[in-house]
Symmetry: C2
Subunit: 123 residues, 2 copies
């Protein structure tokens, strides 16, 4: 699978999981994974999922505007840079966001999220 197709597939899987069952994101992170969410630094799969599942909204829908990817170096990682809109249930206007993921290969030939940085761009 070429990097662009792989990153698009990852992004679709990530946000559809986020929008339907946030706890399912735990499989995409490992103990060394880092999330910086609106400036707050969190490490480890369970802590990251605890953060994401405790966000103060029940339902949301991500819509992707752009996905860019680049290889991150000889270790086989991939950088994925996303921009899009986040619609929260009950809110009139969607929020713009941008997010980057650094995907690293697992021993099983899949990828996990090593770095994750999320920011809202208040429009």
């Amino acid at each position: 699978m070429d990097p662009d197709a792989l990153s698009k597939a990852f992004v679709e899987h990530y946000y559809s999981t986020f929008d339907t069952s946030r706890a399912g994101l735990a499989n995409l992170y490992q103990e060394t994974s880092m999330l910086t969410f609106e400036g707050q630094k969190i490490q480890g799969s369970q802590n990251i999922v605890n953060k994401l599942t405790s966000l103060p909204f029940q339902q949301c829908k991500h819509t992707i505007t752009t996905v860019d990817c680049q290889p991150s170096g000889p270790a086989g990682g991939m950088l994925v840079f996303v921009s899009g809109n986040l619609q929260l249930a009950g809110e009139q206007h969607a929020l713009k966001f941008s997010q980057m993921f650094h995907l690293m290969p697992t021993a099983q030939g899949s990828f996990y999220v090593y770095n994750d940085i999320f920011r809202l761009n208040y429009a």
Copy 2:
């Protein structure tokens, strides 16, 4: 220097160079460096600077809103994620942008930009 201070210093240096003398950015890239600029992929220091110096505006001013950083792995790299505003000379409204850099250490103990992804977030 701690990673947060280092990334802030890099970001200030990068955008002040961009806003005063874009050609000076050549020193921050190497032959293996990648830029994805609004979806267009460019590789190598000279090609990247050719792209940046040929953008269709003479003067601009970046204002930084947020800077986040995370270590990218055992190779000593650092991911820097930026959001901000870009004011073009003669335009009434600033454009929002987000950009990520993957900084890698040089043999001389400094850093260069290995990955660079830039997107405007049309507000």
